[in-house]
Protein backbone atom coordinates (compact mmCIF):
# COMPACT_ATOMS: atom_id res chain seq x y z
CA UNK A 1 0.00 0.00 0.00
CA UNK A 2 1.55 3.25 -1.01
CA UNK A 3 1.45 6.01 1.53
CA UNK A 4 -0.85 8.66 0.09
CA UNK A 5 -2.21 11.64 1.95
CA UNK A 6 -4.99 13.33 0.09
CA UNK A 7 -4.20 16.89 -0.77
CA UNK A 8 -6.85 19.36 -1.84
CA UNK A 9 -7.49 19.22 -5.57
CA UNK A 10 -5.40 21.73 -7.50
CA UNK A 11 -6.94 24.37 -9.66
CA UNK A 12 -7.41 23.43 -13.29
CA UNK A 13 -4.84 24.53 -15.81
CA UNK A 14 -5.05 24.49 -19.57
CA UNK A 15 -3.42 21.36 -20.90
CA UNK A 16 -0.20 22.84 -22.27
CA UNK A 17 0.49 24.78 -19.14
CA UNK A 18 -0.13 21.69 -17.06
CA UNK A 19 2.37 19.64 -19.02
CA UNK A 20 5.05 22.26 -18.54
CA UNK A 21 4.36 22.21 -14.84
CA UNK A 22 4.68 18.45 -14.75
CA UNK A 23 8.00 18.56 -16.51
CA UNK A 24 9.29 21.20 -14.12
CA UNK A 25 8.03 19.27 -11.14
CA UNK A 26 9.71 16.09 -12.29
CA UNK A 27 13.03 17.81 -12.87
CA UNK A 28 13.04 19.52 -9.50
CA UNK A 29 12.17 16.47 -7.44
CA UNK A 30 14.99 14.00 -7.11
CA UNK A 31 12.76 11.02 -6.59
CA UNK A 32 10.69 11.83 -9.65
CA UNK A 33 13.78 12.16 -11.80
CA UNK A 34 15.20 8.87 -10.61
CA UNK A 35 11.91 7.10 -11.17
CA UNK A 36 11.44 8.53 -14.62
CA UNK A 37 14.95 7.62 -15.70
CA UNK A 38 14.51 4.03 -14.53
CA UNK A 39 11.17 3.72 -16.23
CA UNK A 40 12.47 5.09 -19.50
CA UNK A 41 15.38 2.65 -19.46
CA UNK A 42 13.01 -0.26 -19.03
CA UNK A 43 10.69 0.98 -21.74
CA UNK A 44 13.60 1.21 -24.13
CA UNK A 45 14.72 -2.31 -23.25
CA UNK A 46 11.23 -3.60 -23.81
CA UNK A 47 10.97 -1.92 -27.18
CA UNK A 48 14.36 -2.98 -28.49
CA UNK A 49 15.38 -6.18 -26.75
CA UNK A 50 17.20 -7.57 -29.74
CA UNK A 51 19.64 -4.69 -29.64
CA UNK A 52 20.76 -5.47 -26.14
CA UNK A 53 20.62 -9.22 -26.06
CA UNK A 54 21.92 -11.18 -29.00
CA UNK A 55 20.35 -14.52 -28.30
CA UNK A 56 16.79 -15.57 -28.33
CA UNK A 57 15.67 -16.52 -24.86
CA UNK A 58 14.29 -19.83 -25.99
CA UNK A 59 17.51 -20.93 -27.63
CA UNK A 60 18.58 -23.73 -25.40
CA UNK A 61 21.55 -25.45 -26.88
CA UNK A 62 24.16 -23.79 -24.78
CA UNK A 63 26.00 -25.65 -22.11
CA UNK A 64 23.94 -25.44 -18.96
CA UNK A 65 25.04 -23.87 -15.69
CA UNK A 66 27.71 -21.67 -17.12
CA UNK A 67 28.94 -18.74 -15.08
CA UNK A 68 29.49 -15.17 -16.23
CA UNK A 69 31.37 -14.70 -19.42
CA UNK A 70 31.67 -12.45 -22.40
CA UNK A 71 29.19 -14.44 -24.43
CA UNK A 72 26.82 -15.06 -21.59
CA UNK A 73 26.66 -11.97 -19.41
CA UNK A 74 24.71 -13.74 -16.73
CA UNK A 75 25.58 -17.29 -17.54
CA UNK A 76 23.14 -20.00 -18.52
CA UNK A 77 20.45 -21.87 -16.69
CA UNK A 78 19.99 -25.59 -16.27
CA UNK A 79 18.23 -25.81 -19.64
CA UNK A 80 21.16 -24.23 -21.43
CA UNK A 81 19.41 -20.94 -22.10
CA UNK A 82 21.18 -17.62 -21.95
CA UNK A 83 20.05 -15.84 -18.80
CA UNK A 84 20.78 -12.35 -20.05
CA UNK A 85 18.45 -12.97 -23.00
CA UNK A 86 15.81 -14.32 -20.64
CA UNK A 87 15.88 -11.21 -18.54
CA UNK A 88 16.05 -8.70 -21.38
CA UNK A 89 13.30 -10.29 -23.43
CA UNK A 90 11.17 -10.75 -20.38
CA UNK A 91 10.98 -6.99 -19.94
CA UNK A 92 8.33 -6.55 -22.58
CA UNK A 93 5.89 -8.95 -21.01
CA UNK A 94 6.21 -7.32 -17.61
CA UNK A 95 5.80 -3.81 -18.96
CA UNK A 96 2.81 -4.84 -21.05
CA UNK A 97 1.15 -6.25 -17.98
CA UNK A 98 2.04 -3.22 -15.89
CA UNK A 99 0.62 -0.75 -18.38
CA UNK A 100 -2.42 -2.69 -19.50
CA UNK A 101 -3.49 -3.63 -16.01
CA UNK A 102 -2.51 -0.23 -14.68
CA UNK A 103 -4.59 1.62 -17.23
CA UNK A 104 -7.56 -0.75 -17.11
CA UNK A 105 -7.65 -0.79 -13.32
CA UNK A 106 -7.36 2.98 -13.13
CA UNK A 107 -10.13 3.29 -15.69
CA UNK A 108 -12.46 1.18 -13.59
CA UNK A 109 -11.43 3.02 -10.43
CA UNK A 110 -12.13 6.41 -11.98
CA UNK A 111 -15.48 5.24 -13.27
CA UNK A 112 -16.59 3.73 -10.00
CA UNK A 113 -15.09 6.38 -7.72
CA UNK A 114 -16.30 9.43 -9.57
CA UNK A 115 -19.71 7.98 -10.41
CA UNK A 116 -20.26 7.05 -6.78
CA UNK A 117 -19.28 10.52 -5.60
CA UNK A 118 -21.17 12.42 -8.18
CA UNK A 119 -24.32 10.38 -8.52
CA UNK A 120 -24.70 10.02 -4.80
CA UNK A 121 -27.61 8.39 -3.06
CA UNK A 122 -28.31 4.78 -3.87
CA UNK A 123 -25.60 4.64 -6.47
CA UNK A 124 -23.01 5.88 -4.05
CA UNK A 125 -24.21 3.51 -1.39
CA UNK A 126 -24.06 0.39 -3.49
CA UNK A 127 -20.85 1.24 -5.32
CA UNK A 128 -19.17 2.11 -2.05
CA UNK A 129 -20.21 -1.13 -0.46
CA UNK A 130 -18.94 -3.05 -3.46
CA UNK A 131 -15.65 -1.17 -3.29
CA UNK A 132 -15.22 -1.70 0.42
CA UNK A 133 -15.99 -5.39 0.26
CA UNK A 134 -13.48 -5.93 -2.51
CA UNK A 135 -11.00 -3.84 -0.60
CA UNK A 136 -11.18 -6.07 2.39
CA UNK A 137 -11.18 -9.53 0.85
CA UNK A 138 -7.58 -10.68 0.64
CA UNK A 139 -6.76 -10.37 -3.03
CA UNK A 140 -3.76 -12.58 -3.42
CA UNK A 141 -5.43 -15.75 -2.15
CA UNK A 142 -8.42 -14.88 -4.30
CA UNK A 143 -6.21 -14.53 -7.36
CA UNK A 144 -4.57 -17.83 -6.52
CA UNK A 145 -7.87 -19.64 -6.47
CA UNK A 146 -9.06 -18.00 -9.66
CA UNK A 147 -5.85 -18.95 -11.39
CA UNK A 148 -6.11 -22.39 -9.87
CA UNK A 149 -9.55 -22.96 -11.30
CA UNK A 150 -8.82 -21.50 -14.68
CA UNK A 151 -6.62 -24.06 -16.26
CA UNK A 152 -5.17 -23.10 -19.59
CA UNK A 153 -3.33 -20.35 -17.81
CA UNK A 154 -2.55 -17.65 -20.23
CA UNK A 155 -1.25 -14.26 -19.43
CA UNK A 156 -4.69 -12.91 -20.23
CA UNK A 157 -6.20 -14.78 -17.32
CA UNK A 158 -3.63 -13.03 -15.18
CA UNK A 159 -4.41 -9.63 -16.63
CA UNK A 160 -8.15 -10.03 -16.41
CA UNK A 161 -8.24 -11.39 -12.90
CA UNK A 162 -5.89 -8.75 -11.50
CA UNK A 163 -7.82 -5.98 -13.22
CA UNK A 164 -11.14 -7.30 -12.01
CA UNK A 165 -10.08 -7.36 -8.39
CA UNK A 166 -7.57 -4.66 -7.59
CA UNK A 167 -9.32 -1.42 -8.50
CA UNK A 168 -10.94 -0.85 -5.13
CA UNK A 169 -8.16 0.96 -3.27
CA UNK A 170 -7.72 3.69 -5.84
CA UNK A 171 -11.47 3.84 -6.43
CA UNK A 172 -11.89 4.83 -2.82
CA UNK A 173 -9.29 7.56 -3.02
CA UNK A 174 -10.80 8.95 -6.19
CA UNK A 175 -14.24 8.95 -4.66
CA UNK A 176 -12.97 10.88 -1.65
CA UNK A 177 -11.49 13.56 -3.81
CA UNK A 178 -14.48 13.70 -6.13
CA UNK A 179 -16.67 14.25 -3.09
CA UNK A 180 -14.71 17.30 -2.06
CA UNK A 181 -15.13 18.69 -5.55
CA UNK A 182 -18.81 18.04 -5.80
CA UNK A 183 -19.94 21.30 -4.38
CA UNK A 184 -17.40 23.56 -5.91
CA UNK A 185 -18.56 26.54 -7.83
CA UNK A 186 -17.53 25.54 -11.30
CA UNK A 187 -19.69 22.43 -11.01
CA UNK A 188 -22.62 24.52 -9.86
CA UNK A 189 -22.10 26.64 -12.92
CA UNK A 190 -22.20 23.57 -15.15
CA UNK A 191 -25.33 22.32 -13.45
CA UNK A 192 -27.02 25.64 -13.85
CA UNK A 193 -26.06 25.70 -17.52
CA UNK A 194 -28.07 22.51 -17.80
CA UNK A 195 -25.25 20.19 -18.70
CA UNK A 196 -25.97 16.49 -18.47
CA UNK A 197 -24.43 14.57 -15.63
CA UNK A 198 -22.17 12.55 -17.86
CA UNK A 199 -20.82 15.70 -19.44
CA UNK A 200 -20.10 17.22 -16.07
CA UNK A 201 -18.32 14.11 -14.92
CA UNK A 202 -16.17 13.70 -17.99
CA UNK A 203 -15.44 17.27 -18.94
CA UNK A 204 -15.39 19.11 -15.65
CA UNK A 205 -14.60 16.78 -12.80
CA UNK A 206 -12.11 14.37 -14.25
CA UNK A 207 -9.63 16.90 -15.63
CA UNK A 208 -9.46 18.51 -12.19
CA UNK A 209 -8.51 15.23 -10.65
CA UNK A 210 -5.68 14.61 -13.06
CA UNK A 211 -2.92 14.44 -10.49
CA UNK A 212 -4.74 11.90 -8.36
CA UNK A 213 -5.62 9.88 -11.44
CA UNK A 214 -1.99 9.77 -12.47
CA UNK A 215 -1.01 8.78 -8.94
CA UNK A 216 -3.64 6.04 -9.08
CA UNK A 217 -2.21 4.75 -12.31
CA UNK A 218 1.23 4.55 -10.74
CA UNK A 219 -0.13 2.70 -7.73
CA UNK A 220 -2.09 0.28 -9.85
CA UNK A 221 0.83 -0.37 -12.17
CA UNK A 222 3.02 -1.14 -9.18
CA UNK A 223 0.53 -3.62 -7.84
CA UNK A 224 0.09 -5.15 -11.24
CA UNK A 225 3.81 -5.80 -11.30
CA UNK A 226 3.90 -7.27 -7.83
CA UNK A 227 0.79 -9.39 -8.19
CA UNK A 228 1.55 -10.72 -11.65
CA UNK A 229 5.14 -11.57 -10.92
CA UNK A 230 4.12 -13.24 -7.67
CA UNK A 231 1.49 -15.32 -9.42
CA UNK A 232 3.93 -16.31 -12.13
CA UNK A 233 6.53 -17.08 -9.50
CA UNK A 234 4.32 -19.65 -7.83
CA UNK A 235 3.57 -21.19 -11.17
CA UNK A 236 0.17 -19.77 -11.91
CA UNK A 237 1.17 -17.81 -14.95
CA UNK A 238 1.89 -19.27 -18.33
CA UNK A 239 5.17 -21.09 -17.80
CA UNK A 240 6.11 -21.03 -21.45
CA UNK A 241 6.06 -17.26 -21.83
CA UNK A 242 9.25 -15.36 -21.32
CA UNK A 243 8.67 -13.10 -18.37
CA UNK A 244 10.55 -12.24 -15.23
CA UNK A 245 8.03 -14.02 -13.08
CA UNK A 246 8.12 -17.23 -15.08
CA UNK A 247 11.91 -17.14 -15.18
CA UNK A 248 11.81 -17.01 -11.41
CA UNK A 249 9.40 -19.90 -11.38
CA UNK A 250 11.76 -22.06 -13.36
CA UNK A 251 14.65 -20.97 -11.22
CA UNK A 252 12.74 -22.01 -8.13
CA UNK A 253 11.65 -25.37 -9.50
CA UNK A 254 15.18 -26.17 -10.68
CA UNK A 255 16.53 -25.20 -7.25
CA UNK A 256 18.75 -22.56 -8.84
CA UNK A 257 19.97 -21.17 -5.56
CA UNK A 258 21.01 -24.48 -4.20
CA UNK A 259 22.58 -25.56 -7.47
CA UNK A 260 24.94 -22.68 -7.87
CA UNK A 261 22.95 -20.62 -10.36
CA UNK A 262 21.86 -17.77 -8.08
CA UNK A 263 21.61 -15.25 -10.90
CA UNK A 264 18.83 -17.21 -12.48
CA UNK A 265 16.70 -16.00 -9.64
CA UNK A 266 18.46 -12.81 -8.68
CA UNK A 267 18.50 -11.17 -12.11
CA UNK A 268 14.75 -11.24 -12.81
CA UNK A 269 14.10 -10.52 -9.14
CA UNK A 270 16.24 -7.41 -9.23
CA UNK A 271 14.56 -6.26 -12.42
CA UNK A 272 11.17 -6.58 -10.79
CA UNK A 273 12.46 -4.68 -7.81
CA UNK A 274 13.92 -1.91 -9.97
CA UNK A 275 10.82 -1.48 -12.08
CA UNK A 276 8.66 -1.51 -8.98
CA UNK A 277 10.93 1.03 -7.35
CA UNK A 278 10.61 3.27 -10.40
CA UNK A 279 6.85 3.33 -10.05
CA UNK A 280 7.01 3.69 -6.30
CA UNK A 281 9.44 6.60 -6.53
CA UNK A 282 7.24 8.36 -9.05
CA UNK A 283 4.23 7.79 -6.84
CA UNK A 284 5.98 9.09 -3.75
CA UNK A 285 7.24 12.09 -5.65
CA UNK A 286 3.71 12.78 -6.81
CA UNK A 287 2.58 12.82 -3.20
CA UNK A 288 5.22 15.38 -2.39
CA UNK A 289 4.46 17.51 -5.41
CA UNK A 290 0.77 17.51 -4.64
CA UNK A 291 1.12 18.03 -0.90
CA UNK A 292 3.92 20.49 -0.20
CA UNK A 293 3.89 19.73 3.50
CA UNK A 294 5.56 16.40 2.72
CA UNK A 295 8.41 17.86 0.73
CA UNK A 296 11.95 17.33 1.97
CA UNK A 297 12.81 19.91 4.59
CA UNK A 298 16.01 21.76 3.98
CA UNK A 299 18.51 20.84 6.66
CA UNK A 300 19.00 23.62 9.18
CA UNK A 301 21.48 23.88 12.01
CA UNK A 302 21.05 22.34 14.54
CA UNK A 303 18.93 19.29 13.74
CA UNK A 304 15.34 20.42 13.71
CA UNK A 305 12.71 19.06 15.92
CA UNK A 306 9.22 19.24 14.48
CA UNK A 307 7.80 22.70 14.68
CA UNK A 308 10.57 24.10 16.80
CA UNK A 309 10.98 27.84 16.50
CA UNK A 310 13.82 29.07 14.38
CA UNK A 311 16.53 31.57 15.01
Amino acid sequence: MTATVLAPAPARLPAGHAFARVVRAVRSNRKATAGTVLLVIFILIALFPGVIAHDSPSLDNYKPQLGFSGTHLLGTNSFGQDLWAQVIFGTRSMLEIAFIVGLATTGIAVLVGVAAAYLGGVWDGSLSVLTDVLLVIPLFPLLIIIAGYAHGDTTWVLILSITATSWSYTARQLRSQALTLRNRDFLEAARVRGERKLYVIVVEIIPTMTSLIVASFLTNALYAILFSSSLQFIGLGNPSTVSWGTTLYWAQSEAALQNGMPWWALAPGLCIALLGTAFALLNYAFDEIGNPALRPVRKQRPARKAGQSND
Partner: protein
Amino acid sequence: MTDQILDVAGLSVDYVLSNGAVRAVDDVSFTLDHGEFLGIVGESGCGKSTLLFAIAQLLATPAQITTGSVLFQGTNLVGLTDKQLSAVRWKDMSVVMQSAMNALNPVKSIGAQFKDALAAHGKPARREIAARSAEVMRMVGIDPVHLNSYPHQLSGGMRQRSMIAMAMLFTPDLIIMDEPTSALDVVAQRALMVQIKELQRELGFAVIFVTHDMSLVSHFSDRLMVMYAGQIDEFGSTRTVFDSPRHPYTKGLLEAFPSIRGPKTSLRGIPGNPPDLASPPPGCRFNPRCPHVVDQCLEHEPGLYQLNQTLVRCLRVADGSLSQ
Protein backbone atom coordinates in the same frame (compact mmCIF):
# COMPACT_ATOMS: atom_id res chain seq x y z
CA MET B 1 10.42 51.44 37.67
CA THR B 2 9.10 50.30 34.39
CA ASP B 3 5.63 48.98 33.86
CA GLN B 4 6.64 47.54 30.56
CA ILE B 5 6.35 43.80 30.07
CA LEU B 6 6.94 43.44 26.35
CA ASP B 7 9.36 45.22 24.07
CA VAL B 8 9.32 44.13 20.45
CA ALA B 9 12.05 45.78 18.41
CA GLY B 10 12.55 45.55 14.65
CA LEU B 11 10.94 42.12 14.38
CA SER B 12 10.95 40.59 10.92
CA VAL B 13 9.70 37.16 9.91
CA ASP B 14 10.47 35.43 6.64
CA TYR B 15 8.96 32.36 5.06
CA VAL B 16 11.96 30.56 3.61
CA LEU B 17 10.89 28.68 0.49
CA SER B 18 12.87 26.75 -2.07
CA ASN B 19 12.73 29.66 -4.51
CA GLY B 20 13.53 32.47 -2.10
CA ALA B 21 12.26 34.10 1.06
CA VAL B 22 9.01 35.99 1.50
CA ARG B 23 8.91 38.59 4.22
CA ALA B 24 5.65 38.20 6.07
CA VAL B 25 6.39 40.61 8.93
CA ASP B 26 8.53 43.66 8.20
CA ASP B 27 10.30 45.55 10.95
CA VAL B 28 7.59 45.68 13.59
CA SER B 29 8.31 47.46 16.88
CA PHE B 30 6.09 48.26 19.82
CA THR B 31 5.97 48.09 23.59
CA LEU B 32 3.31 46.82 25.90
CA ASP B 33 2.66 47.78 29.50
CA HIS B 34 1.17 45.82 32.37
CA GLY B 35 -2.54 45.30 31.95
CA GLU B 36 -2.66 46.99 28.58
CA PHE B 37 -5.02 45.81 25.85
CA LEU B 38 -3.50 46.06 22.40
CA GLY B 39 -5.58 45.34 19.33
CA ILE B 40 -3.92 44.36 16.05
CA VAL B 41 -6.13 44.69 13.01
CA GLY B 42 -5.71 43.86 9.35
CA GLU B 43 -6.90 41.86 6.36
CA SER B 44 -6.16 38.18 5.93
CA GLY B 45 -2.57 37.68 5.02
CA CYS B 46 -1.32 40.96 6.44
CA GLY B 47 0.98 39.12 8.80
CA LYS B 48 -0.82 39.71 12.08
CA SER B 49 -1.07 36.04 13.02
CA THR B 50 2.52 35.47 11.97
CA LEU B 51 3.52 38.37 14.20
CA LEU B 52 1.70 36.80 17.13
CA PHE B 53 3.35 33.46 16.68
CA ALA B 54 6.68 35.14 16.30
CA ILE B 55 6.25 36.87 19.63
CA ALA B 56 5.22 33.63 21.30
CA GLN B 57 8.08 31.77 19.59
CA LEU B 58 5.62 29.37 18.02
CA LEU B 59 6.61 29.71 14.41
CA ALA B 60 6.96 26.53 12.40
CA THR B 61 9.16 25.90 9.39
CA PRO B 62 9.41 27.47 6.91
CA ALA B 63 8.74 30.60 8.94
CA GLN B 64 11.76 32.13 10.66
CA ILE B 65 12.50 35.22 12.68
CA THR B 66 15.25 36.88 10.70
CA THR B 67 15.92 40.02 12.71
CA GLY B 68 14.72 41.77 15.79
CA SER B 69 14.19 40.99 19.43
CA VAL B 70 11.27 40.20 21.68
CA LEU B 71 12.06 41.32 25.20
CA PHE B 72 9.55 39.78 27.53
CA GLN B 73 10.02 40.90 31.12
CA GLY B 74 13.58 41.73 30.29
CA THR B 75 14.58 38.48 28.55
CA ASN B 76 14.96 38.19 24.80
CA LEU B 77 12.85 35.26 23.74
CA VAL B 78 14.28 35.07 20.24
CA GLY B 79 16.77 32.24 19.92
CA LEU B 80 15.86 30.45 23.11
CA THR B 81 15.26 26.72 22.91
CA ASP B 82 11.93 25.18 23.73
CA LYS B 83 13.35 23.99 26.99
CA GLN B 84 14.46 27.48 28.01
CA LEU B 85 11.15 28.91 26.91
CA SER B 86 9.12 26.46 28.96
CA ALA B 87 9.97 28.42 32.09
CA VAL B 88 8.05 31.35 30.71
CA ARG B 89 5.43 29.55 28.67
CA TRP B 90 1.97 29.52 30.07
CA LYS B 91 3.09 30.78 33.47
CA ASP B 92 3.82 34.30 32.30
CA MET B 93 2.57 34.23 28.72
CA SER B 94 -0.22 32.15 27.29
CA VAL B 95 -1.97 31.85 23.96
CA VAL B 96 -5.56 31.60 22.78
CA MET B 97 -6.05 30.43 19.21
CA GLN B 98 -8.65 31.05 16.62
CA SER B 99 -10.52 27.81 16.41
CA ALA B 100 -10.83 25.88 19.63
CA MET B 101 -11.97 22.88 17.65
CA ASN B 102 -8.54 22.79 16.04
CA ALA B 103 -6.56 24.02 19.00
CA LEU B 104 -7.79 21.45 21.47
CA ASN B 105 -6.57 17.89 21.29
CA PRO B 106 -9.60 15.92 20.08
CA VAL B 107 -8.72 12.75 21.93
CA LYS B 108 -8.18 14.23 25.38
CA SER B 109 -10.77 15.63 27.73
CA ILE B 110 -10.68 19.30 28.61
CA GLY B 111 -9.62 18.49 32.12
CA ALA B 112 -6.76 16.32 30.90
CA GLN B 113 -5.48 19.18 28.77
CA PHE B 114 -5.62 21.53 31.72
CA LYS B 115 -3.75 18.99 33.77
CA ASP B 116 -1.03 18.75 31.13
CA ALA B 117 -0.39 22.45 31.37
CA LEU B 118 -0.41 22.48 35.13
CA ALA B 119 1.81 19.46 35.47
CA ALA B 120 4.34 20.87 33.03
CA HIS B 121 5.26 23.58 35.49
CA GLY B 122 5.94 22.23 38.94
CA LYS B 123 4.43 19.17 40.54
CA PRO B 124 1.00 20.08 41.80
CA ALA B 125 -1.01 17.54 43.75
CA ARG B 126 -4.11 16.09 42.20
CA ARG B 127 -6.38 18.09 44.41
CA GLU B 128 -4.65 21.32 43.48
CA ILE B 129 -5.03 20.50 39.81
CA ALA B 130 -8.71 19.76 40.19
CA ALA B 131 -9.32 22.86 42.26
CA ARG B 132 -7.53 25.24 39.95
CA SER B 133 -9.13 23.72 36.84
CA ALA B 134 -12.57 24.13 38.33
CA GLU B 135 -11.74 27.66 39.38
CA VAL B 136 -10.76 28.89 35.92
CA MET B 137 -13.77 27.21 34.36
CA ARG B 138 -16.04 29.06 36.72
CA MET B 139 -14.28 32.28 35.87
CA VAL B 140 -15.42 31.96 32.28
CA GLY B 141 -18.85 30.81 33.25
CA ILE B 142 -18.67 27.11 32.50
CA ASP B 143 -19.77 24.43 34.89
CA PRO B 144 -16.64 22.50 35.96
CA VAL B 145 -18.42 19.24 35.23
CA HIS B 146 -17.44 19.84 31.63
CA LEU B 147 -13.84 19.18 32.48
CA ASN B 148 -14.69 15.58 31.72
CA SER B 149 -16.02 16.39 28.29
CA TYR B 150 -14.19 16.06 25.02
CA PRO B 151 -13.86 19.10 22.78
CA HIS B 152 -16.37 17.88 20.24
CA GLN B 153 -19.00 17.55 22.94
CA LEU B 154 -19.03 21.25 23.76
CA SER B 155 -20.65 24.07 21.84
CA GLY B 156 -18.45 26.48 19.92
CA GLY B 157 -18.78 29.23 22.47
CA MET B 158 -18.04 26.92 25.37
CA ARG B 159 -15.01 25.55 23.59
CA GLN B 160 -13.65 28.99 23.02
CA ARG B 161 -14.24 29.97 26.62
CA SER B 162 -12.55 26.84 27.92
CA MET B 163 -9.52 27.80 25.85
CA ILE B 164 -9.52 31.15 27.61
CA ALA B 165 -9.91 29.40 30.92
CA MET B 166 -6.93 27.24 30.07
CA ALA B 167 -4.94 30.33 29.19
CA MET B 168 -5.57 31.72 32.66
CA LEU B 169 -4.44 28.69 34.62
CA PHE B 170 -1.36 30.45 35.90
CA THR B 171 -2.76 33.97 35.75
CA PRO B 172 -0.09 35.02 33.28
CA ASP B 173 1.04 38.58 32.71
CA LEU B 174 0.29 38.44 29.00
CA ILE B 175 -2.31 36.57 27.01
CA ILE B 176 -1.95 36.55 23.25
CA MET B 177 -5.18 35.98 21.37
CA ASP B 178 -5.39 35.12 17.70
CA GLU B 179 -8.89 35.93 16.44
CA PRO B 180 -10.57 34.03 19.26
CA THR B 181 -14.00 35.27 18.29
CA SER B 182 -13.90 34.77 14.54
CA ALA B 183 -15.44 31.33 14.70
CA LEU B 184 -18.43 32.54 16.70
CA ASP B 185 -21.68 34.22 15.80
CA VAL B 186 -22.08 37.93 16.44
CA VAL B 187 -23.90 37.61 19.74
CA ALA B 188 -21.42 35.10 21.16
CA GLN B 189 -18.61 37.29 19.91
CA ARG B 190 -19.64 40.23 21.93
CA ALA B 191 -20.38 38.16 25.01
CA LEU B 192 -16.92 36.68 24.82
CA MET B 193 -15.28 40.05 24.38
CA VAL B 194 -17.09 41.45 27.38
CA GLN B 195 -16.01 38.49 29.43
CA ILE B 196 -12.40 38.85 28.36
CA LYS B 197 -12.41 42.50 29.29
CA GLU B 198 -13.90 41.77 32.69
CA LEU B 199 -11.34 39.09 33.41
CA GLN B 200 -8.66 41.45 32.35
CA ARG B 201 -9.81 44.11 34.76
CA GLU B 202 -10.08 41.57 37.54
CA LEU B 203 -6.80 39.78 37.07
CA GLY B 204 -4.75 42.51 35.46
CA PHE B 205 -3.14 40.67 32.56
CA ALA B 206 -2.11 42.36 29.33
CA VAL B 207 -3.73 41.28 26.09
CA ILE B 208 -2.60 41.33 22.49
CA PHE B 209 -5.72 40.73 20.45
CA VAL B 210 -5.51 40.04 16.74
CA THR B 211 -8.59 40.32 14.58
CA HIS B 212 -9.85 41.48 11.21
CA ASP B 213 -12.86 43.11 12.83
CA MET B 214 -11.78 46.59 13.79
CA SER B 215 -15.07 47.76 15.18
CA LEU B 216 -15.26 44.80 17.52
CA VAL B 217 -11.88 45.30 19.09
CA SER B 218 -12.08 49.06 19.22
CA HIS B 219 -14.59 48.92 22.05
CA PHE B 220 -12.16 47.11 24.25
CA SER B 221 -8.61 47.97 23.32
CA ASP B 222 -6.41 50.69 24.75
CA ARG B 223 -4.24 50.97 21.70
CA LEU B 224 -4.84 49.91 18.12
CA MET B 225 -2.33 48.75 15.55
CA VAL B 226 -3.32 48.49 11.91
CA MET B 227 -1.23 46.14 9.79
CA TYR B 228 -0.99 45.89 6.04
CA ALA B 229 1.24 43.66 3.93
CA GLY B 230 3.44 42.79 6.88
CA GLN B 231 3.98 46.36 8.03
CA ILE B 232 2.47 48.63 10.65
CA ASP B 233 0.45 51.27 8.85
CA GLU B 234 -1.06 53.08 11.77
CA PHE B 235 -0.53 52.75 15.50
CA GLY B 236 -1.91 54.80 18.33
CA SER B 237 -4.50 54.99 21.03
CA THR B 238 -7.74 53.36 20.01
CA ARG B 239 -9.80 56.49 20.36
CA THR B 240 -7.51 58.47 18.07
CA VAL B 241 -7.08 55.77 15.45
CA PHE B 242 -10.74 54.89 15.42
CA ASP B 243 -12.20 58.36 15.57
CA SER B 244 -9.65 60.17 13.48
CA PRO B 245 -7.81 57.71 11.27
CA ARG B 246 -4.97 59.24 9.27
CA HIS B 247 -3.76 56.45 7.00
CA PRO B 248 -5.86 55.93 3.84
CA TYR B 249 -5.98 52.21 4.55
CA THR B 250 -7.34 52.69 8.05
CA LYS B 251 -9.91 55.07 6.70
CA GLY B 252 -10.86 52.55 4.06
CA LEU B 253 -11.29 49.84 6.68
CA LEU B 254 -13.50 51.99 8.81
CA GLU B 255 -15.65 53.03 5.91
CA ALA B 256 -16.23 49.38 5.09
CA PHE B 257 -17.93 48.70 8.41
CA PRO B 258 -21.39 50.04 9.01
CA SER B 259 -22.11 51.77 12.28
CA ILE B 260 -25.21 50.60 14.03
CA ARG B 261 -25.99 53.87 15.63
CA GLY B 262 -24.41 56.43 13.38
CA PRO B 263 -26.00 58.07 10.36
CA LYS B 264 -26.46 56.01 7.24
CA THR B 265 -23.44 56.36 5.02
CA SER B 266 -22.76 54.48 1.82
CA LEU B 267 -20.38 51.61 2.40
CA ARG B 268 -17.19 51.61 0.46
CA GLY B 269 -14.83 48.70 0.23
CA ILE B 270 -11.20 49.03 -0.69
CA PRO B 271 -10.77 48.03 -4.33
CA GLY B 272 -8.10 45.57 -5.29
CA ASN B 273 -6.31 42.91 -3.31
CA PRO B 274 -3.46 42.82 -0.83
CA PRO B 275 -0.09 42.57 -2.58
CA ASP B 276 1.81 39.39 -3.25
CA LEU B 277 4.50 39.59 -0.60
CA ALA B 278 6.92 37.72 -2.80
CA SER B 279 7.01 40.76 -5.07
CA PRO B 280 5.47 43.77 -3.36
CA PRO B 281 4.75 46.94 -5.35
CA PRO B 282 7.53 49.55 -5.50
CA GLY B 283 7.37 52.35 -2.99
CA CYS B 284 4.44 52.31 -0.63
CA ARG B 285 2.81 48.88 -0.55
CA PHE B 286 -0.63 50.34 -0.47
CA ASN B 287 -0.25 52.49 -3.58
CA PRO B 288 -2.18 50.24 -6.02
CA ARG B 289 -5.29 50.63 -3.91
CA CYS B 290 -4.85 54.08 -2.41
CA PRO B 291 -7.32 56.78 -3.43
CA HIS B 292 -4.74 59.48 -2.63
CA VAL B 293 -1.74 58.09 -4.44
CA VAL B 294 0.76 60.49 -6.04
CA ASP B 295 4.02 59.93 -7.89
CA GLN B 296 6.28 59.91 -4.87
CA CYS B 297 4.23 57.08 -3.40
CA LEU B 298 5.49 54.85 -6.19
CA GLU B 299 9.11 55.89 -5.70
CA HIS B 300 9.75 56.08 -1.97
CA GLU B 301 8.91 53.56 0.67
CA PRO B 302 7.37 55.39 3.58
CA GLY B 303 8.67 54.88 7.10
CA LEU B 304 6.61 55.27 10.23
CA TYR B 305 6.06 58.95 10.94
CA GLN B 306 4.94 60.29 14.24
CA LEU B 307 1.93 62.57 14.17
CA ASN B 308 1.08 63.72 17.67
CA GLN B 309 0.86 60.41 19.54
CA THR B 310 0.12 58.24 16.53
CA LEU B 311 2.47 56.50 14.13
CA VAL B 312 1.40 56.59 10.48
CA ARG B 313 3.10 55.05 7.49
CA CYS B 314 2.18 57.52 4.77
CA LEU B 315 4.32 60.00 2.89
CA ARG B 316 1.48 62.41 2.30
CA VAL B 317 0.44 62.42 5.93
CA ALA B 318 4.05 63.03 6.89
CA ASP B 319 4.45 66.05 4.66
CA GLY B 320 1.01 67.32 5.49
CA SER B 321 -0.34 67.13 1.97
CA LEU B 322 -3.08 64.78 3.09
CA SER B 323 -5.42 66.62 5.36
CA GLN B 324 -8.10 65.11 7.57
